[in-house]
């Protein structure tokens, strides 16, 4: 056993902050690139039967005067056109106009009203909050409240890492992103709990005079192989989905990938060390009052 996880915890905290800070700044400056799920709008993806340039598509779309729009090539002959929320007639006109460049088949067409989008966004935030509170209650019940708080901080860490990366790289946030965040925190708390479970067990067998830091360190080492192996296997699946799974779920899988890696890190390097800090604070508080 060479590395003492708890003694060097300030380094772990520093790494976490270094990763989160740029994303946090970007979140404040640019916010998130909300998809149509949350702000309303229209996405049309078409496949042409012949190669078509982005310029041709752009000119055609601009000619319809639908306001701000973005054109993105999504496959060899596939294009995604994003616009404001369109009426059915406008949407039909758009497809008809694209069809004039070359024969175009509709791949997907999504349209969300602005108020409906706001509603979905609110629901997403609520889902996240409720999930976190329920997890806190569960951990407080099965372990102890301070461990619950430490685990939740680790979860916020993971959420911020994923949000930050999506903000920095201007990736689109839609309702599947919310599912990704919830899965991420599910995995992260999984990792944390396996470690806490070992700490709980080792605390029971703790010898007199054994430092808390050492017990936690040993527990972390005992669970390390599991932590790494599990995250590796999840990464296998996610990497396969990312590279082979088609463009539709790219961002969703990316969010999961970042979240799962961050979750593994935060479970080892944030949750348990934080709990140690909480415990030490509590001890110092007690001796402080005893002296006074």
């Amino acid at each position: 056993m060479s590395l003492h996880f708890i003694k060097v915890r300030k380094i772990w905290y520093a790494i976490s902050i270094a990763v989160i800070l740029p994303g946090l700044i970007s979140l404040f400056l640019h916010g998130l690139n909300l998809g149509i799920d949350f702000k309303g709008g229209n996405i049309l993806e078409v496949r042409f039967d012949q190669p078509v340039t982005a310029d041709q598509v752009r000119k055609t779309v601009d000619g319809l005067h639908l306001g701000d729009n973005t054109i993105q090539q999504s496959g060899a002959n596939d294009y995604i056109v994003r616009t404001r929320h369109l009426t059915q007639d406008e949407s039909d006109a758009l497809l008809a106009a694209l069809n004039k460049i070359h024969k175009a088949t509709m791949m997907q067409n999504q349209s969300i009203g602005p108020s409906f989008g706001r509603e979905l966004a609110m629901k997403a935030v609520w889902a996240l909050l409720i999930a976190i509170v329920l997890k806190l209650i569960y951990i407080a019940f099965r372990f102890e409240f301070k461990q619950g708080i430490a685990a939740i901080i680790a979860l916020l860490h993971d959420t911020l890492v994923v949000l930050g990366i999506f903000s920095l790289f201007h990736l689109q946030v839609d309702s599947s992103f919310v599912a990704a965040i919830l899965t991420t925190i599910g995995y992260s708390i999984n990792d944390t709990i396996v470690i806490f479970d070992r700490i709980r067990e080792n605390m029971r067998a703790r010898k007199k005079g054994e430092a808390l830091e050492d017990v936690v360190n040993v527990s972390l080492w005992q669970t390390l192989a599991r932590s790494i192996n599990t995250v590796l296997m999840v990464i296998f699946v996610l990497a396969a989905l990312y590279f082979l799974g088609g463009s539709t779920i790219h961002d969703f899988v990316l969010a999961l990938l970042v979240g799962v890696i961050s979750g593994a890190y935060s479970s080892i390097c944030n949750a348990s060390p934080l709990w140690v800090d909480f415990k030490l604070l509590e001890k110092r508080g007690k001796t402080g009052t005893a002296r006074a």
Partner: protein, 415 residues
């Protein structure tokens, strides 16, 4: 070596292999007679994002004539149902959500925008006299059918009034001979024919359609009646069949590669228990697939991702157990007692960690809609099934392997 145990083991391997083949191999479906039940995967219901289709959320709004309440919502739902059925699609589902919304899902439709347009047309039919008085409405109709006149090849919609309507129509035509009666749909003048003579039989005809299809759509609208309230489209997600097929193929491919990577990793890292875990994972996949079919779970794209992630959870349970097993063996315990203590100690960790993931799945289920809900259901089923296979199956199999005397060499267990 205990031969009876070895025979049981071989028996299990063969049974799983046969079931596995029957469940997923496309060839299994070709076996005559059995094709009705096999393969299982064929019976998994595909979501709109995988087979193509349209998901629409409609919102009802008050109009000066009618308020949105449960009664108008029921009428609205009935009208929309008739219209969607008129499109001739398979198994549309229409559900009410909240006080003023309808969710319409139509699978495997080639022209979703036409379907949406048909759904939200008010389709308020009026017959107006020259002085602008409405004399008859769509409510007086009994039937509307498209037809092609044999002589002129003209496409028409034939209207039949109900008895009340027929009487009114007879009176109105009698009073307006020589004058025009306008036929309006949603306030738009369709035709303005001049009445030649009183029409007592309660029949009328609208002409001037380009195609039989166009006439058919109008006839469906008229038959199904006017919408009782104003309706807007809040959400529309249409996926073309080709994108659905692309997504399906891509995620199948990706899933296969990911799973094979897991299987190889487990085998290399945990050796004999790894092999057992791999085997348990195959059983796990079969169990989950059967549950999907049994509970009529709709498979969506996020659902496939959740299925793969739940495999991660299932393997994780095994990893926790095997790491424990190694530790117990290192303390000098016998294989049998190491397996038992390993499982016992690992169980608490597995239970607690799965319970918190389950919380995510439940919350997603209640807050999510459509594909996200599919994700939650798949994840939830996966967690429960993984608890079963990882703890019960793997343990039983490990004991069986140990009892066979195959694994006397503790190195095989990674110790």
């Amino acid at each position: 070596m205990k031969w009876n145990k070895i025979l049981i083991l071989i028996g299990i391997v063969i049974v799983v292999a046969v079931v596995g083949f029957a469940a997923v191999a496309p060839e299994a479906g070709q076996i005559s007679g059995a094709g009705k039940y096999l393969p299982v995967v064929k019976n998994v219901i595909l979501g709109l994002d995988l087979q193509g289709g349209v998901h629409v959320v409609l919102q009802a709004h008050d109009t000066p004539q009618a308020k949105v309440n449960q009664e108008t919502m029921n009428q609205l739902k009935a009208v929309i149902m008739r219209r969607v059925n008129g499109l001739g699609v398979a198994e549309p589902t229409i559900q009410q959500q909240g006080a003023n919304r309808l969710i319409v899902d139509i699978a495997g439709i080639s022209n979703p925008s036409e379907a949406v347009r048909t759904m939200i047309k008010t389709a308020f039919l009026e017959f107006k006299t020259q002085d602008g008085k409405t004399v008859l409405t769509g409510a007086d109709l009994k039937d509307a059918q498209e037809a092609q006149e044999p002589n002129s090849n003209q496409v028409v919609v034939n209207l039949t009034f109900n008895s009340d309507g027929a009487r009114k129509f007879a009176q109105v035509t009698a009073a307006n001979v020589g004058k025009p009666i306008g036929i309006y749909l949603d306030g738009k003048l369709l035709q303005n024919p001049t009445v030649q003579e009183p029409i007592p039989n309660g029949r009328a005809q609208i002409t001037g359609y380009q195609s039989l299809q166009e006439a058919h759509n109008i006839a469906v609208l008229l038959r199904s009646g006017a919408l009782p309230v104003k309706v807007t489209v809040e959400e529309m997600r249409a996926v073309g069949p080709s994108l659905g097929a692309d997504s399906m193929a891509a995620s199948k491919h990706a899933g296969l590669v990911g799973v094979i990577a897991i299987l190889i990793f487990m085998l290399m890292y945990y050796r004999l228990p790894g092999l057992v875990a791999d085997f348990a994972l195959v059983i796990y996949s079969l169990v989950v697939l059967l549950i999907y079919v049994g509970l009529h779970v709709t498979m969506t794209l996020p659902g496939i991702a959740a299925f793969l992630l739940s495999m991660g959870i299932a393997v994780d349970a095994n990893v926790i157990i095997f790491e424990r097993l190694k530790e117990e063996l290192a303390t000098g315990k016998t294989l049998r007692s190491a397996i038992d203590t390993g499982f016992k100690r690992a169980f608490v960790a597995i239970f607690d960690s799965n319970a918190t993931t389950m919380i995510s799945a439940i919350v997603l289920y209640f807050f999510g809609t459509g594909p996200i809900r599919g994700f939650a259901v798949t994840l939830g089923i996966g967690i429960i099934a993984s608890m079963f296979t990882a703890i019960t199956m793997t343990r039983w199999l490990l004991h069986l392997v140990a009892a066979c005397g195959l694994g006397k060499n503790l190195k095989l267990y990674g110790a």
